[in-house]
Subunit: 217 residues, 2 copies
């Protein structure tokens, strides 16, 4: 199976399993059940078993899948490799939290530069990086081979920040703002927001409540 022959749905699900597996490995877990893998990736466990058996990975009944094995195998299948650099735009509370969270530790991503529009923040250090001027984005994105940008800015500033990054050559945007950022073809946006999921949770809560109400009649 080569990288570009995966059905899109399968590739997206494998990416989500991988996120869970990497965290399970950080937590020191040797095995994980299809049910746990499904719950943490919001994919049903039947689909998990079908996907993984399609890769020739068969969990052991009552034991589950080998975390180390899958954590090594899925990146190969997805063709994920190397070290991919991120520019973080926004050095306020959110940017500082992202830079300090270790969220990208052990992934194929790392924050390689931090920028802010506020002159008062230029030169401040966040971890090992110094906050830089927005006017230096183009130069630094090229110099440091940055392919992704994280938007840790207010919604009203998000499109402008996105445009600056895209002009500089960034092809993946991680959008921590609520804004609906417009991008040209070839640029991918990864929204990071709980709202859609929460609306679904409210629906589920309401359904459970309706069912309880109708059962008790």
């Amino acid at each position: 199976m080569t990288e570009r022959m995966l059905p899109a749905g399968l590739a997206a699900r494998l990416a989500r399993y991988l996120q869970v597996l990497m965290q399970a490995r950080k937590d020191g877990r040797a095995t994980i059940s299809s049910q746990a893998l499904g719950e943490h990736s919001a994919i049903n466990s039947t689909q998990v078993r079908r996907d993984l058996s399609g890769l020739g990975r068969f969990g052991k009944r009552g034991v589950g899948y080998d975390v180390e094995d899958l954590t090594g195998h899925i990146p190969e299948i997805l063709g994920i490799r190397g070290q991919n650099n991120i520019a973080l735009l926004g050095a306020g509370n959110l940017g500082t939290a992202i830079a300090g969270s270790g969220i990208f530790d052990g992934t194929w991503f790392q924050i390689a530069a931090i920028f802010d529009a506020d002159p008062a923040r230029i030169g401040q250090r966040i971890g090992e990086l110094e906050v830089q001027r927005l006017s230096d984005v183009a130069r630094i994105v090229t110099e440091r081979n940055i392919i992704a940008g994280a938007l840790a800015v207010p919604a009203t500033a998000a499109q402008g920040a996105a445009d600056v990054l895209i002009d500089a050559g960034v092809v993946i945007l991680i959008n921590y703002s609520e804004a609906l950022v417009q991008v040209p073809p070839g640029v991918m946006v990864q929204p990071v927001s709980p709202a859609g999921g929460l609306f679904y949770n409210l629906y589920l809560l309401g359904s459970a409540f309706s069912l309880r109400s109708s059962n008790s009649q």
Copy 2:
């Protein structure tokens, strides 16, 4: 069509359309195309058109869907209503950013209390709320009718924070940490993390690169 009769997949997609539509409304957009709605919710536009025509909502060719109409209609279908209170655990950079972001403005959620384990932060004000002691979670969750908790704590503290909230009666957790939080049946977890999506983006990048490479041979 009643609330509890929606197929799970459809309900989840409607929740994601709703998130996009609400942001489009904030941005002052009167209409939105199935393509834009699909791009911002990561659902393909054919599926968007099928879902919305199933609700009797037909976009006008070349104009799109009426944002105001759908923003009113989808919550009715999902049975979303009322004001749902969130307890935010963690008043560090991330918690402060979440509390100040206005991310829940105009949704059916609001942050109704903020807690921290650090004595130095107790009594500090973030917006209109005062940071409270963890030992007060149970009392305040009951008093303020809080149903959801947001985990803005380090991964190592996430399970403990989740347990405190669940014991207090919270049924939805918004997990901003990377931790794989374990919850009992009936409690829903909404992870907020870009990693799985980013792995998929890397796969897509790699595939595009492979295709370009093989095309140029």
